[in-house]
């Protein structure tokens, strides 16, 4: 029996609107992929296209071995369907008891999800999504509004995902998970920067902390907090 391959191939995918366009080609294998790009460059549009929710102006997207896809939108408020936090959990097919305990929202079981702070809502939303396994998980700005501790916890959780393809579309610069491959959108084109740490050299959107560490002669192995701390400590001896 052959090993099941999970893979996405973008064949000259194209989207055009007025004076804006986006082109993407490349292969995404199993692992965690990071896509960076300026405000308005098309990160969210690319996420929607890969999820099959945005019409392509040209090209095609080939998906192999993917039986379940989950897209987490940039605005968690757009996902809300439950009138209470508990109902919201149930709407995702997960038990409120499991989710509320781990997200520290036990006391807010009966309040409207839209009355939560944005960070709390994002925490609830991500916990519901991550409670299940997905062959393809698309996370659009998942770190937005999360506090530093929660960002670190999310990175640990993403790092524990052992199978499938996770694609993170973000401009987060400080707290990131260990990633398999780095991509960026530059001048309307998706560019494959490669695998860390070599990718750091080709990456226009390289986080300033990595630039600073590199200038000091200490290149981190990857993007996670542990990698950055290890590199920072190498400088200090």
């Amino acid at each position: 029996m052959g090993v099941l391959i999970i893979r996405i191939t973008l064949n000259r995918v194209h989207a055009i609107r007025d004076d804006w366009s986006l082109s993407a080609s490349g292969t995404l294998d199993e692992g965690v992929h990071l896509v960076s790009g300026d405000v308005g460059s098309g990160k969210s549009t690319l996420a929607l296209m890969i999820a099959g929710l945005f019409p392509l102006s040209g090209g095609s997207i080939e998906k192999e071995g993917i039986t379940s896809t989950m897209l987490s939108l940039q605005f968690p408020e757009l996902h809300v369907t439950g009138l209470t936090v508990a109902e919201e959990c149930t709407s995702w097919g997960v038990s409120p008891d499991d989710i509320l305990g781990t997200t520290g929202l036990t006391g807010k079981r009966d309040v409207s999800p839209l009355s939560l702070s944005r960070g709390e809502l994002n925490r609830l939303h991500l916990a519901c999504i991550l409670a299940k396994n997905h062959d393809l998980l698309l996370l659009d700005e998942p770190f937005s509004s999360l506090d530093c501790e929660e960002k670190a916890k999310l990175c640990t959780r993403i790092g524990q995902t052992s199978q499938g393809i996770t694609i993170i579309f973000t401009h987060e610069q400080e707290i990131l998970p260990r990633v398999t491959r780095i991509w960026e959108i530059v001048d309307g084109m998706l560019v494959d920067c490669g695998t860390p740490p070599d990718a750091f050299q080709n990456w226009h959107h390289v986080p300033s902390i990595i630039e600073k560490l590199t200038a000091l002669g200490s290149i981190p192995d990857n993007l996670s907090l542990d990698d950055l701390k290890e590199a920072a400590c190498r400088i200090r001896g």
Partner: protein, 221 residues
Amino acid sequence: MISIENLRYRNLAIDALTIRPGITTVIGPNGSGKTTFLKICAGIILPDSGTIVVDDAPPRQTDIGWVNEYPDRNLLFVNVADEIASPLRFRHDTCDSVDSAMKSCAETMVITHLLTRTVRELSGGEKILVSLAAALVHHPTVLILDEYDSHLDAHVKEKNEQIIRSSGAKYIIRCTQQMDTATQSDHVLFFDNGRVRHDGTPDQVFPFLKGTAYYPLLWGC
């Protein structure tokens, strides 16, 4: 000075706090009261008890620029140009002066290409830039930004940092989850469970946070 005394609102409690002119950055866990504090500073909510005064006037008698952490909750109008112009129209400026102030604000923020768009067509980051323009167009005394940077890339954030600093706003109060940004402030407040746990310059506050995810990475291992 912004002076706060014996302030209580739900679980938020601040006995005494002074905010000097300059950039004040509020940090702390989700749900610790940061947004509630910003809303009180903006006059959007009134405290249950206690006082807050901005140079001797309450927030509701002060010119405030405000950017909400939910990008869509900032936007009232269909078109970007109308959205940016709205604070000037609400105070009945003349049509000519509204138009020129709106355009010059968009130029400063390098978003003139968005002026003909509808707000629905904007990306998350673009919505925040339009909201920031609407907050700055009337030259407020106090500019309040609730995690506006969580939607911006590093280059845009750096550019906007300069725009905010040169905006003429006497007080800039913002909350962020980016500690690199927090280190570039005059004043840092660390909130936890409705209380101001630490208050001072970045050099004074961050040593208390050593060993937590709030400690700036480049400050050491």
